[in-house]
């Protein structure tokens, strides 16, 4: 349904410089499937989401192809894109507090999305908006409230109601549950899977979020979820979540997953597994593998050239260690 091939995005900097942020991304999503994108901040996850809907600033250079139901979204005129945004591909943004209009009641904001794509009467719009607010577990009376009157979890639900309102075939969710406590995060993620049959592209830095998602997808849709692990604008490992959790192959994936489930007794003052150093910066990428400086299994070749993506069974890995 969605095919992304060799996607390269560079942001324009001062003095005509270009900073490559996505450096050749390939993936595809089938109808109803859930694809997770896992990576630390600054690895290009959000740029990936925004590039699919052509929401990046005009000065950005986007190369490669993004094919959605046979159309290349990168060459589509703005008028056609507007028909796709919201109706066929919906997006749940990272910070719901700033994604919603602060001076418009939230019910109106849900109506607005439907109104952009359907030629319905005001009454019917309102009815439909209330219906979707109810579906995401909110009381319809909340429709009159302004964003500042609602909690973080409620705002997140309003955004989900907006995303569901035109029954899209693909929903892109950028950190759909960040800033909430773990119980609320799980509830939100499970609800998204329950309320729609759409394919989901979920961007997150928390492996536990993907775990919750894949569990409910397996239960409700009988599908396994796949994950792309991103580092410095490249996919370093891709495979099913189960494979990754049981036997991650790339040193970065292994380290990232080790961070998320530290072992040891509470109170023992045992040091946690951590990846040394900071994430690679796009401004100072060296010739070799971007993870080389932080990698515990680096070899001489890692600093010399970039590893290619190789297939190992059903997974793709970008590393020399294999």
């Amino acid at each position: 349904m969605l095919h992304v091939e060799n996607l390269r995005v560079s942001y324009a900097g001062g003095g005509g410089t270009q900073t490559a942020v996505l450096r050749g991304i390939d993936f595809h999503i089938a109808p109803g499937e859930v694809l997770g994108v896992l990576g630390e901040s600054g690895c290009g996850k959000t740029t990936l989401a925004l590039s699919i809907l052509s929401l990046l600033p005009a000065s950005t250079s986007v190369k490669g192809s993004i094919r959605f139901l046979g159309q290349n979204l990168l060459v589509l005129p703005e008028r056609e894109l507007r028909r796709i945004r919201g109706e066929r591909i919906a997006m749940i943004f990272q910070e719901s507090g700033s994604a919603l209009n602060p001076v418009m009641p939230v019910g109106r904001q849900v109506e607005e999305v439907i109104h952009a794509h359907r030629d319905w009467s005001l009454d019917r719009l309102r009815e439909e908006a209330h219906n979707f607010l109810g579906q995401v577990g909110l009381d319809p009376s909340i429709a009159q409230a302004y964003p500042h009157q609602l909690s973080g979890g409620q705002l997140q639900r309003v955004q989900i109601a907006q995303a569901l309102s035109c029954r899209p075939t693909l929903i892109i969710a950028d950190e759909p549950a960040s800033g909430l406590d773990p119980a609320a995060q799980a509830e939100i993620l499970e609800m998204v899977v329950q309320r729609t049959h759409a394919a989901l592209l979920v961007i997150t830095h928390q492996p536990s979020n993907l775990h919750v998602l894949s569990r409910s997808v397996a239960m409700l849709r009988g599908l396994t979820s796949r994950v792309l692990v991103m580092y410095a604008g490249q996919v370093v490992e891709a495979g099913s979540l189960e494979q990754l959790e049981t036997s991650a192959l790339h040193p970065y994936t292994q380290a990232l997953l080790a961070c998320s489930r530290p072992s040891g007794q509470p109170g023992a003052r045992q040091k946690l597994p951590a990846i040394p150093g900071y994430s690679a910066s796009f401004f100072r990428l060296a010739a070799g593998c971007a993870f080389e400086a932080r990698c515990g299994r680096r070899q001489a070749v890692c600093g010399e050239r970039e590893p290619d993506c190789v297939d190992v069974g059903e997974r793709q890995i970008r590393c020399f260690v294999l």
Binding site: G152, D181, L256, S260, P262, G267, R269, L272, A274
Partner: protein, 242 residues
Amino acid sequence: MTIRSGTLLEARNVSKTFTRGRWYSDCGVRALDNVTLSIQSSSTLALVGSSGSGKSTLARCIAQLEKPDLGEIWFDGRSLANFTQAGFRHLRKEIQIVPQDPSASLNPRWTAAEIVSEPLRVQRWGNEKKRYVRSLELLESVGLDNRAPHQRPYQLSGGQRARLALARALALEPRLLILDESLSSLDLSLQAQIINLLIDLQATYELAYLVIAHDMTLVASMTDQVVELCKGRIVRQEFFPC
């Protein structure tokens, strides 16, 4: 590994209500309801609970940024209610707080060295030269490199800014450090790095921590006591022997 010598902080039956609407109306939010807990020196108490359960209010009461309506808070054998204004000035050295969003609390126009020496200046510690030298030591102790002292917050990454906020809180050698979700906005590996650093600092400075966390998985290793709040009440209290 840690030396535990008596109670450092004690909260006795602390309650706090925030009034909504007019002051005489009785519709209020009971943020804390009869909370009693104690922290030993050089130990860690983790405060958990869903959002809106009163965790931050309790932290703010302990840090003297908020006054409890009822109940008393004792620090090092003295009740905070009996302190004079001058006494508070001294007390502030002992209890420091790292706020929820550390980056937002850093002055964007100051260099890291200036940010770290501000609390020293406020407390009239040493002279300008000595404060500068001390700030370099502090920045080094939290693992920032030798370029950092002259950089401004926007030139630092999120993890480096969290370290900077930590260095500032440590400047006055407090005995209790309150971390109000200070790490939750960071990547997992950075959170783990900082928690490892906190474990080391606790051993060096004999610090006690009050850590507020959504999620216990990462902080469990350094925790001696967990207190869970729900709607302002303590619903679980658990000690980890070590």
